[in-house]
């Protein structure tokens, strides 16, 4: 008689078999829901991609890692924020991995390509950041959802806020590309509808950062205010140049939140007191935000930002849909209807979706204080994007 040797290998084998058991049981029960995360995991937007992923996974974890009784399986693709590679990357998830839901992305150009793919293939798409109006405009479809914002929302809200502050004339200044253009157009729409006058709309090619000649122009025009959209490294340089040119004391600078979000470390003193509009901010006094911030800090060891919130709400939105059909995502109509009518308790405040599947939420007025974008009021309560061009 030979007794089997209790070698390390056998122990490991047994342990592995034990570990696999619950998974196997679940598989026998119902297949996992496949979620494809197509986000930037390299390049300038890496941190945004990571924070969105963290937020999304936190929302799923709060549902016990299961939606409607089914486990979630993640597939990830680094989209490199490269629109040229977007169709290929989306295809990897849709055709190769056969995901049930596609989540992405940050860069508007890439997201537009994803929206086209989703429209063609019918794959459920949740956009956790990109703000291009077209996604919930001409490209809108029953299976395309967005949990972030459109550039229109923050621009429009600031146009109204500027009027309330008694501004009569403005100059707009941005990069010559879709996001910037949509932002300043929305500002102008609201500002001129209320009797304001935009003296000049200036734009420089993306991603140039030589602002000096434009600042001289602003000083010569002497408007009551300047509305500007820049982001990332460009926003840091712009805000510093604006202050260094001595304009800040005479002509206040306003913008959408992107002007001062994630950039305050670099902008320092030059950004203090700048007013911006966005759907999230620091010091929102609601219990959900406090709970979210604590849970996020505990799970990942870092403070969440607006991108974490958008990722989290993408997870919440998917959960609302899948829970409603009890995990049977083949009941597509019911799934989509449940997502459409979801009333999410977001860290940003109450969140519902518009007819074109874009978030309807408060746009907050925020003021830069130290290293924070402190919320000082609501610029536009429950503001919905008009969804122009959406036939649905």
């Amino acid at each position: 008689m030979t007794r089997p040797h209790l070698t390390l290998r056998r122990i490991l084998g047994a342990a592995a078999a034990l570990l696999l058991l619950p998974a196997a049981a679940a598989r026998a029960d119902q297949p996992k829901i496949k979620v494809g995360l197509m986000l930037p995991y390299s390049g300038t937007y890496t941190s945004l991609g990571v924070n969105i992923t963290n937020g999304f996974k936190l929302a799923i974890a709060e549902h016990g890692g299961k939606l409607g009784g089914r486990e979630i399986e993640y597939f990830t693709v680094d989209d490199e924020s490269d629109p040229a590679k977007a169709p290929d990357n989306a295809n990897k998830l849709i055709k190769r991995d056969k995901v049930d839901v596609l989540v992405g992305t940050v860069h508007s150009g890439v997201a537009l390509a994803m929206a086209k793919m989703a429209k063609d293939t019918g794959t459920l798409l949740i956009v956790p950041n990109a703000g291009a109006g077209d996604i919930t405009g001409p490209l809108c479809a029953p299976n395309i959802f967005r949990t972030s914002f459109t550039m229109w929302q923050s621009g429009y809200a600031m146009g109204k806020e500027a009027l309330r502050e008694g501004k009569k004339t403005a100059v707009t200044f941005t990069w010559k590309y879709a996001a910037g253009q949509e932002s300043v157009d929305a500002f102008k729409e609201a500002f001129e509808a209320g009797g304001g006058k935009v003296l000049k709309m200036m734009a420089l090619p993306f991603p140039q950062v030589e602002f000096q000649s434009y600042l001289t122009e602003i000083a010569a025009l002497k408007p009551d205010m300047v509305y500007s959209f820049f982001s990332g490294g460009g926003a840091v340089k712009y805000v510093k140049d604006y202050a260094a040119a001595g304009l800040k004391a005479h002509i206040p600078l306003y913008g959408p939140g992107f002007l001062t979000d994630g950039t305050l470390e670099g902008q320092g003193e030059a950004a203090q007191g700048i007013l911006t509009t966005l759907h999230y901010g620091d010091g929102l006094d609601n219990p959900k935000d406090k709970a979210f911030r604590a849970a996020y800090l505990k799970a990942y060891g870092s403070e969440p930002d607006v991108f974490s919130v958008q990722g989290y709400d993408s997870g919440q939105l998917l959960a609302a849909g899948v829970e409603a059909v009890k995990g049977d995502i083949s009941r597509r109509k019911a799934l989509i209807a449940a997502m459409e009518h979801a009333k999410l308790d977001s860290p940003r405040g109450p969140l519902t979706l518009s007819r074109s599947h874009n978030p309807v939420n408060n746009i907050y007025l925020r003021k830069v204080e130290g290293k924070e974008n402190k919320v000082i009021g609501v610029a536009s309560p429950a503001l919905a994007d008009p969804g122009r061009g959406c036939k649905m």
Partner: protein
């Protein structure tokens, strides 16, 4: 636009042109004298800016950061020439492009690993942080004037070095006939090594000086690289004097283009390049 605004715009143009010159001068030296197409030149600018940021936060003074950073940049230049570039002088341009493109990727990744992808600001030294009021709404930062001053001093220094010193004579001789210089018993390898280190140091210095005004961010090197090549091509390859002329010209065209022809301002610089190349295919200053 009134006369006064025009004058201020002129100041903007000259200031932008001078900064462009500082970065491009190193590129034109390496390109013209050693025949190396150095795509990594923008990375040296980026490295300079990040050196300024990390050394300034370490030592607490931008002056010390610039001094230390320049020494480090020279050392980096000497090392790269010894380890890599010295093996590429006789190779095809395509292979040089591949090498220097690879270096861009390596430097960007190292930057990301060591210092992360955040945008950083570098404080302007207190002595230079004031602004001079020009009109009731506009003032001009002293630091920008200081930058222009530094660029002018360096341009003068380069001129003296190349035209009036023994080393400069060897550099000029080496650029026109490498073998002849060697057979005269001069150590041409040493000359090349020094020129390369000088080129790297100039780009890094430009990055360090520009850091407080432009902030420090990923990808800043590639942005500056393209416009630098335009400067070098317009100015005439290898000519420092040509690079200065071209940089100032680009500064003027870019600035006044933005003021008077905003809809096509992005194109004007390239239009300028096309026109100059049609008129003088070798650039403004022909190599002798």
């Amino acid at each position: 636009m009134d006369f006064y605004s025009l004058l201020i715009q002129l100041l903007n143009a000259v200031q932008y042109g001078l900064l462009l010159f500082l970065v491009a001068s190193g590129l034109t030296l390496i390109f013209g004298i050693m025949g190396i197409i150095n795509l990594a030149h923008g990375s040296f600018y980026m490295i300079g800016a990040y050196l300024a940021f990390s050394l300034a936060s370490l030592t607490g003074s931008l002056l010390w950061a610039v001094l230390l950073g320049t020494v480090l940049a020279v050392a980096l230049g000497l090392f790269l020439e010894w380890a890599l570039f010295s093996r590429f002088y006789r190779r095809e341009h395509l292979e040089q492009v591949l090498l220097t493109y690879g270096l861009i990727l390596v430097f960007e990744e190292l930057r990301s690993l060591i210092l992360g992808n955040d945008v950083h600001g570098v404080a302007v030294p207190a002595a230079l942080s004031a602004s001079i009021p020009l009109t009731d709404t506009l003032s001009y930062p002293v630091y920008r004037l200081f930058m222009s001053g530094v660029c002018l001093v360096l341009a003068g220094g380069l001129y003296l070095l190349i035209q009036r010193t023994r080393v400069g004579m060897m550099i000029r001789a080496g650029s026109s006939n490498r073998e002849m210089v060697q057979s005269l018993g001069l150590n041409i390898n040493l000359v090349y090594r020094l020129v390369f280190a000088l080129g790297v140091a100039l780009a890094a210095l430009a990055g360090m000086i520009a850091a407080p005004a432009s902030s420090v961010y990923p990808g800043m090197g590639t942005q500056v690289l393209i416009i630098c090549f335009v400067v070098v091509v317009i100015g005439g390859i290898g000519s420092v004097w040509g690079a200065l002329l071209a940089a100032l010209l680009i500064g003027l065209v870019d600035t006044f283009g933005k003021v008077f022809l905003p809809s096509i301002s992005g194109l004007l610089v390239y239009l300028l390049m096309a026109v100059i190349l049609l008129w003088r295919p070798e650039g403004l200053v022909k190599r002798t």
